[in-house]
């Protein structure tokens, strides 16, 4: 029999969204935060460049411009009510983080420092605007640490290294979760009035990825198995600048500070693809441009990478050509020392993994799988909605990368993920606690842990004819090749068939480790089952969408088709098949326009 705990609110995941939710929910409700990692190991800590908020600390800016940029960045698939809400909330939530002690870099007059980032513009001139509030190139680390510190201060209850494996629903409402305690292998039932999923993304579906090992899509996979759809899964962001072959993220802040992308001829090619903002176009635009350059044989040495150059010589040359000036009107220039000060971590990564010093040498980069725009469908209150009529599941919430609110639509702007997690994490915590105040516990079913046991037993008792690592490798390769930066009917079809074959083969996998304590092989294998489900849903959703929009770029349907496709995909996993339905995008005042940078 599993151990049973009772909390009014249970938060699953302890990255930025989960910690913010836990912090707020625990103010008024008995709350537990459950995470398969120690909270400070969460992937929020890997975010580098900044959090977007129109503070206007260095130049004119406004939340309305931020809203428009985000709508445009989303290629008009983002829900405009949610985007308005997020961008309007941004300045206050950044001040709140500062009040919690977050050590932002500072302007000479002591305010929060801000830098340029892709797709963020002055709406009057179309030029890049300094909107990304940053702490060197470890802004995510600072947010994660600060929120965890606040949780300690406020005695938030944690269950560290408890891996949530199932979502218990009763009478169509949330009733709790089932978790495995890593240290003992025992199952625990967390009986709850409200459950908040904040489990992050699933970039481990792809071969080249910036994402942590832990990014295995647990939240979306668990809810899919419980009949909840996944929204807009075909939209997965490939960040332009991952370290060649390793995928490790090199922040867009490098280009914000004046770095440029160069091809084999030493040419700054982005001015051909985005004449106004050049290297600071949206990520989907830059990744596609890089892909096209490499396809045309202009990768470095003909290989599948390009150079990202932040050496002072190059930065100063192109800043002069662009006529870039500082806030006081003087010409923009940088020194090696300033670069080292502003981007210490990425310089360390390049030295460690490549033996390259970015202050004097260009960095070899390629697009890397980075961020899930899609996820568990929610409304702007972070309540999980389960169909095309936006029917709310009582007591069920999701926030952060696991959720699809949708503020990112078809393509997320840099700095908006950190904003998303704090704004909607907070919203989830407040709303879930409020729900719990007015709700009773649903009765727990007698067999609450049975479905989890069945899944784990199947992994322990497989025939052993197949090896999990082979299946994972084949999935990652086929998804990177065919459901990546550019897509075409035949390739996606091939990927979908391959993933379905792999799902069959997965049934023959057997976990060797029959122990109970820290059985990471068992959990890693279970995580692979999640990735396979998400790969299937992603490929099926992508195959069906016959247009190009944001991160979903098709060679066979190259234009955006607002008439037929300005709508969200909802995908259900039913009896081994994917069922697709659609729901409209919420518009407020932004009419779709052609997207030019």
């Amino acid at each position: 029999m599993a151990n049973v705990h009772q909390y009014e609110v249970v938060v699953v995941g302890a990255g930025g969204a989960g910690l913010m939710a836990g912090l707020y929910a625990s103010k008024t409700a008995k709350t537990a935060v459950i995470s398969k990692l120690y909270p400070t190991r969460s992937h929020t800590g890997a975010a580098q460049g900044g959090i977007g908020a129109a503070l206007g600390n260095l130049e004119d800016d406004s939340p309305e411009w931020h809203t428009y940029d985000t709508v445009k960045g989303s290629d008009y698939l983002g829900d405009q009510d949610a985007i308005e809400f997020m961008c309007a909330a941004a300045p206050d939530v950044v001040y709140e983080l500062e009040h919690m002690g977050l050590p932002f870099n500072r302007t000479p007059d002591g305010k929060i420092a801000q830098r340029r980032f892709g797709g963020h513009t002055n709406n009057e001139t179309g030029k890049p605007v300094t909107r990304a509030c940053y702490a060197a190139d470890r802004t995510g680390h600072m947010i994660l640490q600060t929120l965890y510190q606040q949780c300690i201060k406020n005695n938030v209850t944690f269950y560290d290294e408890f891996h949530v494996l199932d979502f218990i629903t009763v009478n169509g409402a949330a009733a709790g979760v089932v978790a495995l305690e890593l240290a003992t292998g025992e199952l625990h039932i967390f009986h709850a009035k409200a459950v908040i999923f904040a489990t992050g993304g699933h970039g481990r579906v792809w071969e080249i990825t910036s994402n942590a090992y832990a990014y295995t899509g647990d939240g979306v996979a668990i809810t899919l198995r419980r009949g909840i759809p996944a929204e807009d899964m075909e939209f997965f962001q490939f960040h332009p600048t991952g370290i060649y072959r390793m995928g490790i993220l090199i922040t867009e802040g490098v280009r914000g500070e004046g770095g440029v992308l160069l091809n084999d001829k030493g040419e700054r090619f982005m001015d051909r693809y985005a004449p106004t903002v050049k290297d600071l176009a949206s990520r989907d635009v830059v990744s596609r441009a890089m892909y096209l350059e490499m396809k045309a044989g202009r990768g470095i040495g003909g290989k599948r990478y390009l150079h990202l150059d932040i050496t002072p010589e190059t930065v100063n040359k192109y800043a002069a050509l662009d006529g870039r000036v500082r806030p006081d009107g003087s010409p923009y220039t940088v020194t090696g020392e300033e670069i080292l000060k502003k981007l210490p971590d990425i310089i360390d990564f390049c030295k460690t993994y490549l033996g390259v010093d970015p202050v004097s040498q260009p960095m070899p980069v390629q697009p890397t799988a980075h961020y899930a725009m899609g996820g568990i469908p929610t409304n702007v209150r972070t309540e999980i909605v389960i169909d095309e009529n936006n029917t709310v599941m009582p007591g069920a919430y999701a926030a952060g990368e696991v959720a699809c609110v949708s503020v990112h639509g078809a393509n997320r702007l840099g700095t908006n993920s950190l904003l998303d997690i704090v704004v909607f994490g907070k919203e989830a915590g407040i709303n879930a606690a409020e729900f719990a105040r007015g709700a009773s516990f649903q009765p727990l079913p007698d067999d609450a842990a049975d479905f989890t046991r069945q899944q784990l037993d199947a992994l322990r008792n497989g025939s052993g004819k197949e090896r999990a690592a082979d299946i994972a490798r084949e999935m990652k390769e086929v998804m990177f090749d065919h459901v990546g930066v550019f897509r075409i009917e035949e390739g996606m079809q091939q990927a979908l068939e391959k993933v379905r074959e792999l799902k069959q083969r997965f049934k023959e996998v057997r976990v060797e480790d029959q122990g109970s304590r820290f059985n990471t092989e068992l959990l890693n294998t279970w995580e692979l089952s999640n990735l396979l489900d998400l790969a299937e849903v992603t490929a099926a959703s992508a195959l069906a969408r016959k247009e190009s929009r944001g991160a979903h770029a098709r060679d066979d349907f190259q234009e955006r088709d607002d008439k037929n496709w300005m709508k969200h995909t909802l995908a259900w996993l039913k009896d081994g098949d994917v069922e697709l339905r659609y729901k409209p995008v919420t518009l407020t005042k932004y009419e779709p326009k052609k997207r030019v940078y």
Binding site: Y95, M142, A212, R517
Partner: protein, 233 residues
């Protein structure tokens, strides 16, 4: 190239005492030691147990002893350590299984130094102002990822695990020298106790072990000086 890797093994469910298992794996010079452990787990022995997440040195999961020194397995490449590699759990914390140790005592020490912002005054409507110089004063210690490489390399911690340890002092330093914070006196009082900073014998192991290149010994010295001088400059 082929790499021979000796890995510490201990499964309390079946082992009376620890032993080493040897694996021979194909590797590239630029492979991370973590990549080798993954390869062993995937293709040689699925029961090999270790923690990892980000795989590029920012989450702090995979601190271990590699050829006798504390490192993150994801920040050490084969070309840095050679083709004979010995991997053991970090010292001074109880081994739970293979390379996994009990992190609870480490986090308890961390929590004991009030590692959070303290300022009871009502905040302004916008940000509190802070000069770039004041922000720079504690920049180094904001980099800590709580991997425990420093604390578990410290001879004073090995000899007495009640010692709060370098990681906790680093995190206290981060707030003590933040001019927005008002909790310095409380933290200095905690660190002035018997198991506080005075246990530090300036061995420098912590500074050498830190994967984030934090000048830990210096930070500890600054805390000591603040206690003796009663000043924070």
């Amino acid at each position: 190239m082929q790499v021979t890797i000796d890995v510490f093994r201990f499964d309390p469910e079946k082992d009376q005492k620890p032993h080493f298992d040897q694996f021979v794996v194909e590797a590239e010079p630029v492979d991370r030691v973590l990549d080798l452990l993954e390869k062993i787990k995937d293709y040689h022995d699925g029961s090999l147990t270790f923690r990892r997440s980000c795989a590029h040195g920012v989450c702090g999961s995979d601190a271990m002893r590699i050829n006798g020194v504390n490192r993150l397995a994801c920040k050490v490449l084969v070309q840095d350590v050679g083709t004979r590699i010995k991997v053991e759990p970090i010292l001074g914390l109880k081994v739970k299984r293979d390379l996994i140790v009990d992190m609870e005592p480490f986090f308890d020490h961390y929590k004991s130094v009030l590692p959070y912002f303290i300022n009871d005054e009502a905040p302004p409507e916008k940000e509190r102002l802070q000069s770039p110089e004041a922000r720079e004063r504690f920049d180094d210690t904001t980099k800590c990822i709580l991997c425990a490489a420093c604390t578990t390399s410290c001879p004073s911690f090995w000899s007495d695990s009640a010692y709060v340890g370098p990681a906790a002092i680093v995190n206290a330093h981060r707030f003590i020298f933040d001019d927005r914070d008002q909790g310095a006196a409380q933290r200095l009082e905690i660190l002035n106790q018997q198991m506080g900073v005075w246990r530090c014998r300036t061995a420098f192991n912590c500074t050498e072990a830190c994967p984030r290149d934090i000048h830990i010994t210096q930070a500890i010295a600054e805390v000591k000086k603040a206690i003796t001088s009663g000043k924070l400059d």
